[in-house]
């Protein structure tokens, strides 16, 4: 098998293979909790999926998912971010691309791969070399001024999640105003409020993923 070259296999990220969805956002905003909440919903919908995590200094997120009992541990890959959580999803996404390719090779029927970014700041964005569509997660406890700061992550993502909405009254956040400001700065792009601890908003997120990259409405 090692004697011939395919000479016309010029590849771009053009829809071949599993759809790839990025999940970014600040540390503690709820990225791993989102994946934990999505797993049973995606499974119930019969979607064949896997997860790639990007931990900054440990394999904590990957291990948390592997030990959760929610998903076959073989379907969770960990990519170290080399101290650069934004580099590994934006300037140099090749480690994640290779991890996704490897999952596709191991699970030929794969429809969807979720890439969880390491915790980063509001300037974090995903390269479209890596993903087809991406989510940014913020939370009310991070402050209701986040939408007004208009970070590229929040502005450019395909779906903005405002998580931990149950905490709003406890941290002095006017949730309605925060959501209104988020919608104002994002124009027509979607904003979904969630409380991932009790499942509020998870179905809406799964619907958005299904419609955007799996073309299931």
């Amino acid at each position: 098998m090692l004697h011939s070259l395919r000479t016309s296999d010029h590849e771009i990220r053009s829809g071949a293979g599993a759809a790839r969805v990025g999940i970014g956002g600040p540390v503690g905003s709820g990225k791993t909790a989102l994946i934990e909440a999505l797993i049973p919903v995606l499974q119930r919908r019969g979607i064949d999926f896997a997860v790639v995590t990007n931990d900054l200094v440990t394999r904590e997120d990957a291990e948390r998912l592997r030990r959760s009992g929610l998903i076959d541990p073989a379907r969770v890959s960990a990519v170290e971010a080399g101290a650069c959580p934004h580099t590994v999803i934006r300037e140099d996404p090749t480690l994640n691309i290779a991890a996704g390719d490897e999952l596709e090779a191991r699970f030929p029927g794969l429809e969807l791969i979720l890439f969880e970014s390491g915790g980063d700041n509001l300037a974090s964005t995903f390269s479209l070399d890596l993903v087809d569509w991406w989510i940014f997660v913020i939370d009310v406890a991070g402050g209701d001024d986040i939408p007004r700061k208009r970070g590229p992550g929040m502005l450019r993502c395909d779906l903005l999640i405002v998580n931990k909405i149950d905490l709003a009254p406890h941290v002095g956040v006017d949730l309605d105003r925060m959501l209104a400001e988020a919608r104002q700065v994002r124009g027509a792009k979607a904003v979904v409020p969630t409380n991932l601890k009790n499942g509020v908003g998870v179905e809406a997120v799964a619907d958005a993923i299904s419609a955007a990259v799996l073309f299931r409405v």
Binding site: I12, R13, V57, E91, A98, E102
Partner: protein, 223 residues
């Protein structure tokens, strides 16, 4: 001139190839010597170039380069690297770095990179970074001298960049170290390399550091 430009392109830190996530033992070495001075660090880089890169990575890259796209010959070099890299963290790191490197070149449309990536997927190749670099640089027409310089430069700059991010040298101090490495890299590439040469490496401190690092709970780099 085009081959020189391609060499610059391949050594540019902005070229995405996954290398930023690997320290090749430096993070582990720093954990063992937290008070490492700039002089100690520079001596470590020099040892790495003389005792690992010159006799091992450079040679593996050259042998792969000389295969000129023959996948079976490239796979043979690849298997030799796999068999002779005893530290698991360095072995798996080299394979992962190679997979990222191939992913980049495959996306950019290099047919040999596509074929090598498929060979790795099929288990016919391991995909070690030095071997994949040699194969692709041959396809890009860099020539042996420039390929060796590229290999030495990215080996030194990668480790120095990791050290800067780990905070043991400043950004400009790191560039000073790299600047002083350049004559050494040139000197080490001047020696003739026979086709039947054995791969040789002897850097026990970095090997042990890399092995210890693999068991660390907290780490920034993959190795």
């Amino acid at each position: 001139m085009l081959s020189t430009l391609r060499a610059i392109w391949q050594t540019d830190g902005a070229f995405p190839n996954g290398s930023f996530a690997f320290s090749y033992g430096i993070e582990g070495a720093i954990a063992l010597r937290r008070d490492m001075s700039l002089r100690d660090f520079e001596a470590l880089i020099e040892a790495m170039l003389k005792q690992r890169w010159a006799g091992y990575d450079r040679v593996a890259m050259l042998l792969s380069y000389r295969a000129h796209g023959d996948l079976a010959a490239i796979a043979m070099v690849d298997r030799e690297v796999e068999a002779s890299t005893l530290i698991e963290a360095l072995r798996t790191g080299s394979r992962r770095n190679g997979a990222s490197y191939l992913a980049a070149h495959a996306r950019l449309g290099e047919p040999l990179a596509v074929a090598l990536r498929d060979a790795v997927k099929a288990g016919d190749c391991c995909g070690h970074i030095a071997v994949m670099q040699g194969a692709v640089w041959s396809a890009l027409g860099l020539g042996e001298p420039l390929s060796q310089l590229c290999s030495g430069y990215v080996a030194a700059s990668g480790v120095i960049t990791a050290a800067v991010r780990l905070g043991i040298v400043g950004a400009l101090q790191g560039q000073g170290v790299l600047q002083r490495c350049l004559p050494l890299i040139e000197q080490l590439t001047a020696q003739d390399t026979a086709d039947e040469v054995e791969l040789m490496s002897f850097i026990p401190f970095l090997d042990i550091a890399a092995a210890r690092h693999a068991r660390a709970d907290l780490r920034l780099f993959a190795n």
